[in-house]
Symmetry: C2
Subunit: 378 residues, 2 copies
């Protein structure tokens, strides 16, 4: 699945510092994406959820799962893979268990709904699990755990994805990159956020390296025979986190995520899903997600909880580091990107920017405005 044109095209738009990015204001960008998704046929809640998630990811520096995904989502919408007007159904299956049937709509809408419902249940019982079925790609899993943490909840989030990661000792992709996220609130600051694929690198890194010609790090990818390769053009699959020796650990995490997102949601496991990158963009990709929300003040007095998190953070950030480095907490690198982007706008790579112009014209939506352009005009 690494060969299709769709993904290679996306690869070129993979945003990295190498590109001379265009900067766009957050409000302008959000409004553009909302309008575009709506003109693509989606209802307003779906369009708002997608825009919220991808702009949130981009605003935090999580560019691989940010606004560059919008052209892809337009393709799933117009191709028929994504239900443009889903009727989400929430069912409370037990005092602490909820289920969201996403009706093949955007995974973003279903996932925001899941953590909202999860908050209500966790308020009553202290911890809640929300299983999401018949969903689709939801961008960065951290968007949803972060949304919960901004309301004071700790949250675990995960999703299975289509097969791209070989099992330990395997030769053929079976697991998805199956991301795992954990967010926890911090008094007087942004939540701490862990948001990671259970492979060493995301698929997009392979495509980027194909475009730039740079080699991959060792023990992150395999060729068609399942042998480790550093050649991005030969890469046909990814190795789980831990590489050749310890990949059973990354694969073990992928296993847990796959089971929670399939057997607990009523969906098939990742290897049964149609491929994210097509070529089929008309068949739904019935993904499952799984969220757990916890109310810290049902475990410990809020003040004691907050102090312990603060003590942990202070201790961690004060740890001695390698020369020229700093020991950072999860989400710290993104925190710096957030400050920069709040001040200077959200970067859009040139390929995505070009596609935005085309889509704007095609769907009769006002083009977003480059802040540099605005600045040079003023």
């Amino acid at each position: 699945m690494l060969q299709n044109d769709e993904n290679v095209e996306e690869a070129k738009s993979c945003p990295m510092e190498e590109f001379d990015n265009i900067r766009v204001g957050r409000t302008d960008l959000t409004s553009f994406i909302e309008s575009l998704i709506e003109r693509g046929g989606a209802d307003t809640p779906s369009a708002q959820a997608v825009a919220r998630a991808v702009v949130d990811a981009s605003s935090r520096g999580f560019d691989t799962h940010g606004v560059r995904l919008v052209p892809h989502y337009m393709k799933t919408l117009t191709g028929g893979r994504t239900n443009p007007r889903p009727e989400l159904r929430f069912t409370r299956l037990a005092p602490s268990v909820g289920h969201v049937d996403a009706d093949n709509g955007f995974g973003h809408l279903a996932s925001f709904r899941a953590v909202e419902e999860g908050r209500v249940l966790a308020d009553e019982t202290g911890i809640a699990a929300i299983a999401v079925s018949r969903s689709s790609h939801h961008g960065a899993t951290g968007c949803y755990t972060l949304a919960a943490a901004r309301h004071g909840y700790a949250a675990i989030g995960m999703t299975n994805t289509d097969a791209i990661v070989v099992p330990h000792d395997g030769v053929k992709p079976f697991y998805g990159t199956n991301p795992f996220s954990f967010a926890v609130p911090v008094t007087g600051g942004d939540p701490l956020l862990l948001d990671m694929a259970t492979s060493s690198i995301p698929l997009n890194r392979v495509f980027l390296r194909r475009a730039t010609g740079a080699l991959l790090p060792p023990e992150v990818a395999v060729d068609s025979a399942g042998s480790m390769t550093t050649d991005p053009h030969a890469a046909e699959g990814l190795l789980p986190l831990g590489g050749l020796n310890f990949g059973y650990k990354g694969a073990g995490l992928a296993f847990m995520i796959d089971v929670l997102c399939s057997a607990f949601t009523g969906m098939g496991h990742g290897a049964t899903l149609p491929l994210f990158g097509g070529p089929d963009f008309s068949t739904p990709t019935p993904m499952g997600h799984f969220f757990i929300l916890l109310r810290p003040d049902r475990f410990q007095p809020q003040e004691s909880f907050d102090r312990r998190v603060a003590d942990f953070l202070e201790d961690l950030r004060a740890q001695p580091a390698q020369p020229g480095e700093r020991v950072m907490a999860p989400g710290d690198p993104e925190r710096e990107a957030t400050a920069d982007r709040a001040a200077n706008g959200i970067p859009v790579d040139p390929v995505t920017w070009g596609t935005f112009q085309e889509l704007a014209d095609q769907y009769g939506v006002a083009r977003p405005r480059s802040l540099q352009e605005g600045a040079s005009r003023s």
Copy 2:
């Protein structure tokens, strides 16, 4: 903390296939350990919990956390670190949240109690979280998730431990090996079990390599300057899972586990804990554990759940493998050990075996019997 004699002594007893192990029957071994721990001053429930956990781990081939830990536990008991007659207190803090105060007793007792209480809560609400405070080393975390899964629950378990793993880009140990476990029931078979440290290797592997003279794999350990080393004698700390490039992922998991086991339990984070290996064996090491139990039939009809897990397993185990290998599900290697050990007895490495004889005589407990000895006599 890698230098103290305690740990080096333990290293020598680290059981691996290299040793010509003694085999002991499960009942005999359990009874011996129970008696020994009781003669060391512990009450019967504590002794039974320790014996149950370590014999369970050893019977599954999880030797690093098996019966070889018994001499260590005797030291924590007689030294005063472990409360021999703890009064466990369980408090239900919310419909789905429980707390076990372990009263500085053995972590095994508190952890078995935690998953038992968790089952009751999960029966009512579908999912439950149990935080454990003022606990201590509990052996293999998988013993407790497995205990839950044997009753039909899926379970997540974790514990923080004392500082031995350097943070990503750090030079000094801060995180523990912070194990993470997930178990899920399988119809007509043993549960699937993931039970992994969030470092690439456990501490005991370093000690073993010191004893055997073999080098460590790259990117698993650091020297006193925080630089990667493959020399087990130079190793002063471990790298998180993911090594030099992707260690922020293993460290991110360690962070999550540390927060859930400290801020949610009321304990300090791992770096505040006294060292497992001593030299102080008189001060309690107030560890926190965290368990989540889920009732599958509150998420999906039991039959549908079971079928999906079975389908997943069948698909995974049928995946093509590297030459001479098989693609295995988490826990599969242990499953083979379990069959062998059920038939042929539980292996005890010679150093641990020697210590068992000494302890038996010292505390007036009948020595366990080697099955080989029995065989040659019969």
